[in-house]
Amino acid sequence: MNRQEIIQAIADLAPNDALIVSNIADASFELCMLKDRPRNFYMLGSFGLAPSIGLGLALSRPEKVIVINGDGALLYNFGCLPTEHRYAPDNFLHVVVDNGAHGATGYQPTATSAGVDLAAAAAGCGLRAKIVQSLHEFKKAVLGWLADSSPTLIVAKAEEKPPQAAPLVPFSGPQIAARFKQALGS
């Protein structure tokens, strides 16, 4: 499976009112291309902070919150895992698209390409974590979370990159934040 298939599955399965936070660069570009909606927060800077932004949302709102993260970004903000164990409510799902590389900067290998197991690390932090190898398994895991809030972190082992790159997000930061807040009435 590739990241666009994973993101398409999230877009298809997420409830209409779900809040989706996407990692810097490709994940945001692809989410915007595949299913742009005001309840998407495209994180275009602050590498690593997508799960933290998602946690702040999940702690403050009743809707489901889905974070689309990457392996490099999770490694960069690894401290988010113990924080999620301590504080994340049941409406929070952390998806890690693990392609073993820093895609946005030229596909330099990350530590997962050397065998680091992000799901095991997350489990070690007390999270209900699951690793999936196929799109079918991925969808099943998301449906499981929607049904009973487990797992709360899904590591989706992905191909290095999708066949086609997505265009940049056509909105500015203030536009993204303003329409997100407007959709939430916040």
Partner: protein
Amino acid sequence: MSSFSTEDAVREALHEHGIGLCISVPCKYIARLISGVGEDPRFKLIFPSREEEGLGIAAGAHLAGRGSVMLIQNSGLGNMVNAYCSLNLYYEIPLCLIITYRGDELEKIPAQVPMGNRTEKLLDLLGIQTVTLRAAKDLPRLRQGLEWYGNEKKSVAFLTKKTFWNIS
């Protein structure tokens, strides 16, 4: 022991200004404030692993319409500079900070001093409105600053000296 401490007054001011989420990488200067917040049902207290992560949580809370404050040391301010620029400044997401001023003339730990010397310049460079609080008599300036933060929707930092917290 006074019946109404500086820490109590800070909690009241935060609550009155709509702040219910406190995110802290701790400092011993504010140990009493942190424990007070933890025991006060009007607040939710979170300890992130690092300040940068806390900044992300605060940004998410803001997007959801929930007021928050970060309780950190100035050393932690240095850990969140890029995230502040590319998230708070770029998206126009305001941030409220209560910062303990380590490495100033009252500091006992020399390693804190180089960051202390640069803290006010760093806040200025980041364009964060700064209110320095030196003693309990400065409490009205905390309320004024929180008022300004609520109205202007721009970041504010309360830079608090050891003496504000009655630490010897």
